[in-house]
């Protein structure tokens, strides 16, 4: 039985935010009397994460994904509820807890801008009390996995975004953390750099059994890394479960393009009771429910003279777009 490494119960977070009306009148009013509103950005959420899992947090901008990650790693103090990460309450920031986690933010960096990344890496290794020999061994291993070497000796300001993110990961993983919190790690990277980063994360997870909690707006990150997703909508969890189950649920119908040997065949198929999306000469597109796709295809192949067929999966981005817009996905 795999144990839970993260347990969150009735977690809420509120922020005090002051707002003001536009214009001079609004400015003056704001100067003398501030209107401060307490906004609950995370509302009573519960979830558990098992050791070694890769979890994707999905949601629109401002849904609360990053706030959840920040609370999980101990950056911000929760307003209500309890969090246990590796047996610790994150915000207490005990050294033993901090030595087990890392946080990588796509839009924030910890590398010292004017120095080569290797300096920040060695600085981190000394902060995490790793001796020189061990640090060198880990740098060699991680730089092999990340496919960086010379870049480590070039000032950060002269590196490309992708090279910087790889160096950032190396610095963030030098202490072999057991839990990785990644907030949009592929933000701004080109397609190849994104793919390499995903490959690295997958390999790191397989090799170290590290738990990875990540947010990303690039759906490829989620679909290729996360078996389980947690959808966040307005600070509440709208779905927590397997990604493929969610995709099936949101897209219960597949489109099947069938190319018949003759137009006559296609006409017969059109009148056989299937839902037809369109028909052009001997090509016919049917809409078939996921649950009956196998039996339907068997029937079609046995009964009709078929030249070829294609099953079209709906684009994942389109489905995830639905997730970001809708509120509830649980059964």
């Amino acid at each position: 039985m795999i144990k839970n490494i993260i347990e969150v119960k009735n977690l809420s977070k509120s922020f005090d935010i002051s707002s003001r009306k536009q214009g001079l009148k609004g400015t003056l009013k704001h100067f003398f009397k501030r209107e401060i509103k307490s906004i609950k950005v995370i509302k009573n959420i519960n979830f558990e994460i098992k050791e070694g899992e890769i979890i994707g947090f999905l949601g629109a901008n401002g849904a609360g994904k990053t706030t959840i990650l920040k609370m999980l790693c101990g950056l911000i103090y929760p307003s209500e509820g309890t969090i246990s990460v590796s047996g610790y309450f994150p915000f207490r920031r005990k050294d033993n807890f901090l030595k087990n986690i890392t946080l990588v933010m796509g839009q924030k960096q910890q590398l010292i801008w004017d120095l080569p990344p290797i300096e920040s890496v060695y600085l981190n290794s000394s902060i995490y009390e790793i001796n020189q020999f061990e640090a060198e061994k880990r740098i060699r291993k991680l730089s092999d996995m990340l496919e960086i070497e010379d870049e480590l000796y070039i000032p950060v300001r002269k590196l490309s975004l992708g090279q910087r993110m790889k160096s950032e990961l190396l610095a963030a993983l030098i202490h072999n953390p057991k839990i990785l919190f990644l907030d949009e790690p592929t933000l701004g990277l080109d397609i190849n750099a994104q793919r390499n980063l995903r490959k690295f994360l997958k390999a790191y997870n397989e090799e170290t059994n590290a738990t990875i909690c990540m947010t990303s707006h690039y759906m490829k990150d989620i679909t290729s890394l996360c078996k389980r997703v947690i959808c966040v909508h307005n600070g509440s969890i709208s779905y927590d479960g397997k990604l493929d189950k969610l995709l099936k649920k949101l897209s219960p119908i597949k489109e099947v393009l069938i190319i018949c040997r003759s137009e006559k065949n296609a006409n017969e198929l059109m009148n056989s009771g299937f839902t037809v999306k369109q028909k052009i000469k001997n090509e016919i597109t049917l809409k078939i429910e996921n649950s009956s796709i196998t039996t339907s295809l068997k029937t079609i192949l046995n009964k009709y003279d078929i030249e070829d067929l294609y099953i079209n999966e709906p684009p994942v981005d389109e489905i995830i777009g639905k997730i970001l817009r809708k509120k509830e996905y649980n059964d």
């Binding site: 922020f15 990053t66 920040k70 790693c73 101990g74 950056l75 911000i76 103090y77 915000f91 920031r93 050294d95 901090l98 030595k99 986690i101 890392t102 946080l103 933010m105 839009q107 924030k108 960096q109 910890q110 010292i112 004017d114 120095l115 300096e119 920040s120 060695y122 600085l123 981190n124 000394s126 902060i127 995490y128 009390e129 001796n131 963030a172 907030d183």
Partner: protein
């Protein structure tokens, strides 16, 4: 354990020193901008103001060149960097490391002082070329004590500014509060005038504040002017002992308000 801590501190200093060397021109300019004591010396000697406090021209000149050195090695700007880092969410990665982010700022300051040292020496050397009669070399004990006292002065200022910096968790613009502290620091620290020149009644109040121990006391010590050495060092340590727990308290309360904005 001790070896690892020494390793941690030395790496932090080495990295920050390398970083500071990238800004050597900027640091040279900062060193030059710290020549207020020379202007004040000029005002004092041209107006024979030294006579009013029974101090010779030579000793007054030594006081101001010492004040220049003390100032060079006790300048603190942590409130500004911390405020920016905190408001922009830049301290987030450092908060989840097993090292208080203020150690990074402390190392930054010390590294900057090390970088500043040769520039300060050049400025002092130029001063002594034109004023060779003022040159003196304190004995090693006084030199060591002045060094310690200057470091304590730096620590007091660092703690005072760090406390104010932490207020940005509540006010967001803590540097404005620091401006309020700048005025007494300027006038009461001995940067513009030795504290001995103040009226007796004012002096009795000034000496219970931390300000005269920032410049006046270490500068008097280094220049060889009469000063209460044990009393001065005791007050410096006392202020550190008062400010440090205050800083820890305000930090632990303030950090709960951190919202990691900008990320």
């Amino acid at each position: 354990m001790i070896n690892l801590s020494i390793h941690k501190i030395s790496t932090l200093l080495k990295v920050q020193y390398s970083n500071m060397l990238e800004y050597r021109v900027e640091i040279a300019l900062w060193a030059i901008s710290g020549i207020i004591p020379f202007f004040m010396l000029n005002i004092w000697t041209n107006n024979n103001l030294n006579e009013s406090i029974n101090i010779t021209n030579t000793m007054l000149s030594r006081y101001f060149i010492s004040a220049f050195f003390v100032r060079q090695f006790s300048v603190v700007w942590v409130v500004f960097t911390f405020e920016e880092d905190s408001l922009m969410g830049k301290i987030s990665p450092y908060l989840i490391q097993p090292l208080n982010p203020f150690f990074r700022y402390l190392a930054q300051h010390i590294a900057e002082q090390i970088t500043r040292f040769p520039f300060a020496l050049i400025i002092a050397f130029c001063f002594f070329i034109f004023n060779s009669e003022i040159f003196w070399f304190p004995n090693l004990f006084i030199l060591l004590l002045s060094f310690i006292s200057t470091f304590l002065s730096f620590l007091i200022q660092f703690l005072m500014q760090s406390i104010i910096a932490c207020l940005c968790f509540w006010t967001e613009k803590a540097s404005s509060i620091e401006r309020l502290l700048f005025i007494p620091t300027l006038f009461l620290s001995g940067l513009l005038a030795p504290v001995v020149s103040f009226p007796e009644f004012v002096k009795s109040w000034i000496y219970i504040t931390p300000f005269p121990y920032l410049i006046d006391f270490p500068a008097n010590l280094l220049s060889g002017n009469p000063t209460n050495i044990s009393g001065g060092v005791t007050m410096q340590i006392l202020w550190i002992l008062i400010l440090f727990p205050l800083f820890k308290k305000i930090w632990s309360e303030g950090i709960k308000k951190y919202t990691a904005m900008g990320s």
